[in-house]
């Protein structure tokens, strides 16, 4: 990264923030969560802070407080959301430098559709698209499609990459899905469009390629209907908590989000991811490991703790998360990020506890704090998301050398 060796910073946007009572905070806009203006304001704020990228959460179902809830049953949570790819597309023309990484479910959807959607997001953002792939194993999601049944999706299976399970199948399917995305993005060579008036040919069809993917769950012929996107390969990202998803990320992703609770665990997870990366034969490729951290920020530790306590009071339960929860000052957060980064992390995906407060505390508090330590950019150093991630524009797998 341009400014010294500090961490890359992404922010994870979800509704009014990650705390279930965030929508009740002063400054929250709970009636505007389904409007374009709301999302444009959030992404512009992140861009003003020169963050690397935003992710946008998504799901095929209504919200839950935890995975045991039935979707939508909690009437005290924000309920309802918009398709994240379309939110990203809607804000793309209103921003110019920040990466846009929507979540996309890869379990029930068509890889052909998602491939051209992300390619198109890359066109409308001139090279700032990425995607976060997510599996959907709940029976509730299944019943929205009614096409398939698979066995029980048990979270404990995620720790057993070598034992067959419905969960492992979903992740294997996701790996096939990402393979299809990537092949379709390469199915047009960059110079396939020739517009040769003399011969009447618009394209050189020798530079369009069938991908001929055949796997256990689907087969896709290709080529894509959408030409190769500006970045060639928009970055693919995934959240991973255990060995099975680490393996998916190691096989398929450019960025993996992980959830250590301290620096030692961060080091252990990085080691596990690198192991899987070697096994996947990708040891020499860049796979960024970002740690997810939920943040409740305040001018003082006490103020931050008070805010979080007030939110917990409103929701009637102490907030817990799959990720580490940081409560404190921007300076304290900067200390933590720089400390953990030394365990081998490339960056962090910060989940603001409540929006706008914790988002602006990141962009206007944390960012200046990191800059004062020479650990964050003062200007964007690249025009594309791959550029911000230090990834070169890749050669096309189908191009003749």
């Amino acid at each position: 990264m341009a400014a010294g060796t500090g961490p890359r910073i992404a922010v994870a946007l979800d509704g009014a923030g990650w705390h279930p009572a965030a929508w009740r905070e002063p400054g929250a806009r709970p009636r505007e969560l389904l409007t374009a203006g709301y999302w444009a304001d959030l992404v512009r704020e992140a861009e003003a802070g020169k963050l690397d990228f935003v992710t946008i959460e998504d799901s095929l179902a209504l919200q839950t407080a935890n995975h045991l809830d039935r979707p939508g049953e909690r009437t005290d949570l924000v309920q309802g959301r918009l398709d994240a790819v379309l939110i990203a597309a809607r804000v793309a023309p209103l921003t110019s430098r920040i990466g846009l990484v929507p979540t996309a479910v890869v379990t029930h959807t068509e890889p052909f559709h998602l491939s051209k959607a992300i390619a198109t997001l890359d066109y409308v953002s001139t090279g700032r698209a990425g995607v976060r792939v997510q599996v959907a194993g709940r029976a509730d999601d299944n019943r929205h499609f009614g096409r398939r049944e698979f066995g029980e999706f048990r979270l404990e299976d995620a720790a057993e990459p070598d034992r067959p399970s419905p969960l492992a199948d979903l992740f294997d399917e996701a790996a096939d899905y990402v393979e299809v995305l990537r092949r379709l993005w390469d199915s047009w060579e960059d110079d396939a469009e020739i517009r040769d008036v003399a011969t009447g040919r618009f394209v050189d069809r020798e530079k369009l390629h069938y991908i001929d993917f055949e796997g256990r769950w689907f087969s896709v012929k290709g080529p894509s209907i959408t030409p190769r996107p500006p970045q060639g390969q928009p970055p693919v990202t995934a959240l991973a908590h255990a060995a099975v998803p680490y393996r998916l990320a190691a096989r398929s992703a450019d960025v993996v989000y992980v959830t250590p609770s301290d620096r030692e665990q961060a080091a252990a997870i990085v080691a596990a991811v690198r192991d899987e990366q070697e096994r996947a034969g990708r040891g020499d490729e860049t796979l960024h490991v970002f740690a997810d951290v939920v943040v409740f920020l305040g001018d003082t530790d006490q103020a931050a703790a008070d805010r979080r306590a007030r939110l917990d009071d409103l929701s009637g339960a102490e907030y817990s998360s799959d990720a580490h929860v940081f409560t404190g000052t921007p300076a304290g957060l900067a200390d933590l990020l720089l400390d953990w980064q030394a365990a081998g992390l490339s960056g962090f995906r910060l989940r603001p506890g409540a929006i706008p407060h914790d988002l602006t505390a990141i962009t206007r508090g944390l960012v200046p704090e990191l800059r004062s330590r020479g650990a964050f950019r003062t200007e964007y150093e690249a025009n594309t998301l791959r550029g911000l991630l230090g990834l070169a524009r890749p050669a096309n797998r189908y191009a003749a050398v």
């Binding site: 009572a21 929508w23 009740r24 929250a28 709970p30 389904l34 409007t35 374009a36 095929l60 179902a61 209504l62 939508g72 049953e73 009437t75 005290d76 949570l77 924000v78 309920q79 309802g80 918009l82 398709d83 790819v85 379309l86 939110i87 597309a89 809607r90 804000v91 793309a92 029930h108 959807t109 068509e110 890889p111 052909f112 559709h113 051209k116 959607a117 390619a119 198109t120 997001l121 066109y123 409308v124 509730d140 019943r143 929205h144 499609f145 009614g146 469009e193 009447g200 040919r201 394209v203 050189d204 069809r205 369009l208 689907f218 896709v220 012929k221 080529p223 209907i225 959408t226 030409p227």
Partner: protein, 447 residues
């Protein structure tokens, strides 16, 4: 009595030979700036909506990717969502296939687009079944002919159930009491039939238009009936006075049995145009454009679609082939609508031969004659009068205009024809509403 108002839409130039990519003015078909340019021109001219077609597999002929026309297009939903950021009132219509999608996913995306555009989404519902396109998808298997409309109609009605699963008053978002959702059952749906067996909670609350404007292009008896029952607009192929009036009368006459009035369905034929300072100039330009659209090579490709055989050695400047078409179940151009159009290739070949002999036409001249002559040719005054007359005579409610040059092909129409339509009192000078339903004057029906 106020004058009947014209509705106009702008079709982004498609991946067929109508689009002249070889024109020196022709720009990119994939860069976002081209989409912005055409959409902003349409909005400046107060058009009702912008329209995107879709094809989910690159066209092929003779077992090879077809390279003479524009190839490549963006994802429909994604580009429309981005266009919502650079337009304010223009409707945003996308063609989305009901075969290679599920109702839940399509409804989720259209409801999202309708929110993100503050009520400007429209869905052109198409149904294609070819196994050729199906090779790109995990779903979309074979269905017998007689079940296809049934499935398409069921797909649409299932999507409606999803759009309708939120009434619009469920979100309280009351920070004081902590009640976000007033109705704990909001979004509940259950649909069980032979085609779709789904249930659950739809995750997108009611969108500004309730549901997107529905556009269809059905032409068969079944297709017209389906449109009369379910569509807000029809994308028709009958742009001339007599054929237009016949179609208009037929379809509008079917509405009453569904409890609908004639105003609740607008009929919009596709139309191409060539303008000139004078009518003579325009005709001269139109001839040049037709020669650009139908090169010798393109003429041979059209010929092959009827003859169903490789004619690459045929001279386009000579007469039609003396051999007859190959009648076969396999086609040289899979997935092409034109192939389905020529259901009786032997008869088509006979007609073409008669025409070519009568007018002494070469193969290329014949193809220019029998395919896609421009709908409107003339000075701005001539074209404005022709459009207005057709609409006032109930041959249509307006037109979906297809420029032949990307992205500037609508500029001249916007600058010269639209003001004349406005002077005639037949076309809006300002948008009076914010949603596409407002522009079309079609409220969401109850229930």
């Amino acid at each position: 009595m106020t004058r009947k108002q014209i509705h106009l839409a702008a079709h982004f130039p498609g991946v067929n030979n109508t689009t002249v990519w070889s024109d020196p003015e022709a720009g990119s078909h994939i860069e976002f700036s081209s989409f912005v340019k055409l959409a902003q021109t349409a909005e400046r001219a107060k058009f009702d909506f912008f329209f995107l077609a879709e094809g989910l597999r690159l066209r092929e002929q003779n077992g090879q990717i077809y390279d003479l026309d524009v190839v490549g297009r963006p994802d429909t939903f994604t580009v429309l969502a981005a266009l919502a950021a650079v337009t304010e009132r223009l409707g945003l219509a996308g063609t989305i296939n009901s075969t290679f999608n599920e109702p839940f996913e399509v409804a989720r995306q259209f409801a999202s687009l309708d929110h993100l555009s503050a009520g400007r989404a429209a869905w052109n519902v198409v149904t294609s079944w070819d196994a050729f396109t199906g090779e790109n998808f995990r779903r979309g298997g074979f269905l017998p002919q007689d079940q296809r409309y049934e499935r398409a109609e069921t797909f649409l009605r299932t999507a409606w159930e999803l759009f309708g699963s939120w009434r619009g008053d469920e979100i309280a978002a009351d920070a004081g009491t902590g009640v976000f959702l007033r109705d704990p059952g909001a979004g509940a749906f259950a649909h069980h039939d032979a085609h779709f067996d789904i249930e659950g909670r739809f995750p997108v609350p009611r969108s500004p238009q309730g549901r997107p404007v529905i556009i269809q292009a059905g032409d068969s008896d079944e297709g017209r009936e389906f449109a009369a029952a379910t569509a807000d607009a029809i994308f028709s192929r009958y742009g001339t006075l007599e054929a237009g009036q016949a179609f208009y009368t037929d379809v509008k006459g079917r509405l009453a049995k569904y409890g609908r009035t004639p105003e609740q369905l607008v009929i919009l034929p596709a139309a191409t145009f060539v303008l000139g300072d004078t009518d003579a100039d325009a005709h001269e330009r139109a001839h040049v454009v037709r020669r650009q659209q139908v090169s010798g090579q393109t003429a041979i490709k059209f010929l092959e679609q009827v003859w169903n055989t490789d004619l690459s050695g045929h001279d386009p400047d000579g007469p039609l082939p003396s051999t007859d078409p190959v009648v076969s179940d396999t086609t040289i151009a899979p997935g092409r609508a034109s192939v389905r159009m020529y259901r009786d290739p032997l008869a088509t070949a006979r007609e073409w031969r008669q025409l070519a002999e009568a007018k002494n036409l070469s193969t290329r001249d014949l193809i220019i004659e029998v395919t896609g002559r421009q709908t409107f040719i003339g000075s701005p005054a001539t074209v404005a009068a022709a459009i207005d007359d057709l609409v006032q005579a109930d041959a249509s409610d307006g037109f979906i205009l297809v420029p032949h040059v990307t992205p500037g092909g609508l500029d001249e129409f916007a600058d010269t024809v639209v003001p004349l339509l406005q002077e005639r009192g037949s076309f809006r000078t300002e948008y009076t509403g914010t949603t596409l339903r407002d522009h079309l004057g079609i409220e969401l029906p109850e229930g």
